[in-house]
Amino acid sequence: MADTPNSDNRTLHVVGEDDSRVAANHLVTGAFFLVLGGGLQLLSLMSLRFADIFPITYGRLEPMANLTLMIGFVSISLIGGIYYVLPRLTGARLNFSSLARFELFGIAGLVLVGLLAIGFGFGTGGQPFGLPWWINLPMTLLLAVPALVTIGTISNRTENRSYVTLWFVLGGVIWLPLLYLAFFSGDLPYLSSTAVAYTDVFFSAGFVTMFLFTVGTGLFYYTMVRELDVSLASRQLALVGFWSLGFAAVWWGTAQLMFGPGPSYLSGVGAALGLAFPIGALANAANASLTLEGAWDKVRDRPDLRAGVLGLYLGVGVAVMAALAGFRSIASVAALTGFWQAIEYAAISGVGTLLIASVSFSAVPRLFGRELYTRRTKTFLTLTLTGSVGVLVFMAASGLVSGYSWIGGSNSGAYVDVGEGWGAGLAGSVETMMLIAVGFAIVTFFGQLAYAATIIGTVTQGKAATQEVLVAKATVDE
């Protein structure tokens, strides 16, 4: 079968009205934001290490990168994945699909405006990104659209049975706007500084567990079963995974502020309940492994499945590290350091990218009627995994050494500071480890480029294949 011309059928997808195109447009747009966000993230890490050579400081680059990756890439891509699976789980057309199209343009536009706002100093300085209220307000409304579409579509479904992916999707789309609303409320003038700090960590942790891990895992449950024609090993494990992830959100956020101005009960309760995070991640990874039992040879040949499996396993590592750092003894060293930066990096750029790639590599070929452009998939998987694990290890280690050095002499091992005693000697090793972490971040960025090349390559150069379409009677009648 010969390659088809690049322009073949592309316009039809981008401007058409079929429900599938809404999903396709989200996934392609997400790939664009991954490259943009990955570049900003790399610059932000470099500015942390080479502070004096960048015209924009880490304080602005980091929220710009977070905004692009969390909202532009993760949210838009996962919403695309949700729109892809919804009709395939319910047998019904997407409800409010026009609104879904508007939501994509709206969120993408607001992310770009937000980047300018932060870059030009209109941000609020909050973490992971502090946007002015005139962006936060419409963003909250737009992030509620997927919930509306999902619930509307489910209300039109033709059978009363639910595959487990539907829970994960439902939970994710409901939690996302609520999380953002809570985050947005941090801008209210009467809130104390302490409340603002907890709002920030609540959102970043909640976004990772209640949206990224939840929806990403749910979509992989769909991809895995759909691609291999196998049955899910355990509905009960999926249930445990789902509710644990939902419950885990609180604690790995608050652990970052342990011993801070919050109530004293937080450290003990947080350590115990923070275990929900690794429990949820482990339950889902175990479920996937059991499901794939006897089919590992097929997984090896399928980039979509490999990406999902790697994403789930990396997610377990991230969750275990986050939960451990919730214990008082470790938190006294790890809190406020690059350790948590490493966790967030690996969660978003590692786990997030891999889980999203899993659904994208499965969905995009079906949506566009083209085979997956596989020339860069191996590169993507290798570089993304290597880079994100490398950053996780070295940045977390640099954080721990910083924390220890602070004990040796107050603040002595902070990134650029110097101090007395053995802490001063450790500062050099912190810088070295940060430098190695930046090297791994470059590796990750090349992996992100390979992801975008795979998506764009599939759309423009993929060999023609049978296309999966949703054809409602109304469409045919038109």
Binding site: L48, D52, T57, G59, R60, P63, R88, T90, G91, G123, T124, G125, Q127, I151, T158, N160, R161, L166, W167, L170, L178, A182, L191, S192, S193, T194, A197, T199, F202, V225, R226, S231, R235, W243, G246, A249, V250, T254, F259, G260, P261, G262, P263, L266, S332, V333, L336, T337, W340, R366, W406, S410, A414, Y415, V416, A464, E468, L470, V471, K473
Partner: protein
């Protein structure tokens, strides 16, 4: 081929682009040529597809009533099947395409998931955000609230918009690592708490540095601190905020 393509497109009510591309894919898989495929779709003799382009419907794994020991090999609770024809809202897919199967599980009530998700979020909100944010410390003689001047309050806005909190905390904890940084920060603080400390804590920076030292640090003259080119008014405000940040002196 163009006439045939146009006629087939009209007959099927599908755009020519899609029909042509689909016909090419089908022809390649059937070992036939495009004209034959188009003729068949236009109402002529059907082409036998040797390798099915559309995937077979996934095997249906029905819920089993066998004892649990016999269910382990086959996941019992998941049913994967195409929906019954009489209830499926989809019409026949255009040629060269196929409709996806609908993946379903066991009878379920999504409304419960929705209620559960909202309920869980409220619990999470209460425990993870509202609880920690509410002042719980018993009233004492000490406070962490610093009486900033109006210039310093303006400087706090500059501090926030520059993203200083991405690297600097203003939070002293009762741990060994924070000894010497100033008084422990209480819940009523009006400083920018922050959650990362790549640079020094600034809760009490006003007792450690002079205004000229602060200014040269902010402009990046003396250390590896990133340089900030601020308007004089903003620089004055920022330095005022930092100078007045003295959480260990004169409070309470």
């Amino acid at each position: 081929m163009s006439d045939l393509l146009a006629a087939t497109s009209t007959t099927l009510g599908v755009p020519e682009d899609l029909v042509r591309r689909s016909a090419e894919a089908r022809a390649a898989e059937a070992g036939s040529n495009v004209d034959e495929i188009l003729t068949a779709w236009g109402g002529g003799e059907a082409i036998v597809v040797t390798s099915s382009a559309a995937p077979e419907p996934p095997p249906s794994v029905e819920v089993s009533s066998e004892p649990p020991a016999q269910q382990e090999d086959v996941a019992p609770e998941i049913v994967i099947e195409t929906p019954p024809a009489q209830t499926a809202p989809m019409a026949t897919a255009p040629p060269g395409t196929y409709q996806p199967p609908v993946l379903v599980g066991v009878p379920d009530k999504p409304g419960m998931i929705i209620l559960g998700a909202i309920g869980l979020f409220l619990v999470v909100l209460l425990m993870g955000l509202i609880g920690p944010s509410v002042a719980t410390d018993e009233p004492g003689s000490r406070t962490s609230e610093i009486p900033y001047s109006q210039t310093a309050v303006n400087g706090q806005r500059v501090y926030a918009s520059l993203g200083c909190a991405a690297c600097h905390t203003q939070m002293v904890r009762p741990v060994v690592a924070d000894v010497g940084l100033g008084a422990v920060t209480l819940n009523d603080t009006n400083q920018v708490v922050g959650d990362r400390r790549f640079g020094p804590d600034l809760s009490d920076v006003g007792t450690r540095m002079t205004s000229s030292q602060l200014e040269s640090t902010v402009t990046g003259d003396t250390t590896t601190h990133p340089p900030h080119n601020l308007a004089p008014k903003d620089m004055t405000a920022l330095v005022a905020y930092l100078l007045e940040s003295r959480n260990s002196g004169g409070l309470g």
